[in-house]
């Protein structure tokens, strides 16, 4: 009797009994949870940026380059000096802009002093980029010696 009633579509629509789920929900939830945990652990939302650089030439080749068009910027953890003269960054940018107006081929050699960490150098680099100086070269401080690890 029940069989006949179930097979009647009209009866089914009207009747209280819902059609049974073909797939049980519990294993599905398990899988979804595992996927969720995987994506939560494996994904990163860090938004990286990158500064394109040319690799440095060894100091020997740099010193033979024409010194006239090359200015040297020495960067310390707290101060910057242009061609041996300690300057604030703003003044330094002004001078560079003046010089660049005269000499469009001006190349700036950036030389970190001693154990200066990378962070202040990157900060100065940002300022230079914002000021429109792109002809930059990294030069090592010849007096710097790597500390033994």
């Amino acid at each position: 009797m029940m069989q006949i009633q179930d097979s009647n579509p009209l009866e089914l629509a009207v009747g209280q009994k819902r059609p049974r789920n073909i797939i049980s929900l519990t294993p599905l939830i398990d899988v979804v949870f595992i996927l969720l945990i995987f994506f939560m652990l494996a994904s990163s939302f860090m938004d990286w940026r990158a500064i394109p650089l040319d690799t440095s030439k060894p100091p020997a080749t740099v010193s033979t380059a024409t010194p006239k068009e090359t200015w040297t910027l020495r960067i310390d953890a707290t101060s910057t000096s242009l061609n041996g003269e300690v300057l604030e960054l703003d003044e330094l940018l002004q001078r560079l802009a003046q010089q660049q107006a005269i000499d469009t081929q001006l190349t700036l050699r950036i030389q970190p002093v001693g154990d200066t960490p990378l962070q202040p150098v990157v900060t100065v680099l940002d300022k230079l980029n914002a000021g429109g100086f792109t002809r930059l070269n990294f030069v090592r401080d010849v007096e710097w010696v790597a500390k033994p690890r």
């Binding site: 994506f39 990286w48 690890r149």
Partner: protein, 134 residues
């Protein structure tokens, strides 16, 4: 019999909102999160206002704050690393190198390292930075 069925449907109906939320979270993480490359040590990348994007699918070079080196997640010595880079560059000269260096290591160390990289045939390098809010 009927009683049992009724309870079961009831339980399913109660967890449906939970499943909805879990599905939404799953889709959120799938769409917005990019899969991160695993790194064998943490690197405190320098902050910068620079906005340039890193190159797609680079060789990932890692330099930790005490000078540890790793290439694509594998820690190696400098000699091994240079040999590996030389091999990769001669295989594919268009390969991009991305250097993720700690902001606390001496900048001169990077400069010296860039000189050695030039010797193995690398001309261009991308220094990874972290954007700062300005």
């Amino acid at each position: 019999m009927f009683q049992e069925h009724h309870r079961r449907d009831d339980a399913e109906a109660r967890i449906l909102p939970l499943i909805n939320v879990v599905f939404l979270l799953l889709i959120f993480f799938m769409v917005l999160g990019s899969l991160s490359a695993t790194e064998p040590f943490t690197v405190g990348v320098p902050d910068s206002a620079n906005q340039a994007e890193p190159p797609p699918q680079p060789l990932r070079l890692l330099m930790g704050d005490s000078g540890q080196l790793a290439l694509d997640g594998i820690i190696m010595t400098e000699a091994e690393l240079l040999q590996e880079i030389r091999a990769r560059v001669s295989d594919n000269p268009a390969v991009r190198l991305q250097l993720k260096a700690d902001g606390q290591i001496p900048a001169n160390q990077i400069v010296v390292f860039m000189e050695t990289l030039r010797e193995v045939g690398v001309e261009k390098l991308f220094l990874v930075t972290q954007p700062v809010e300005s």
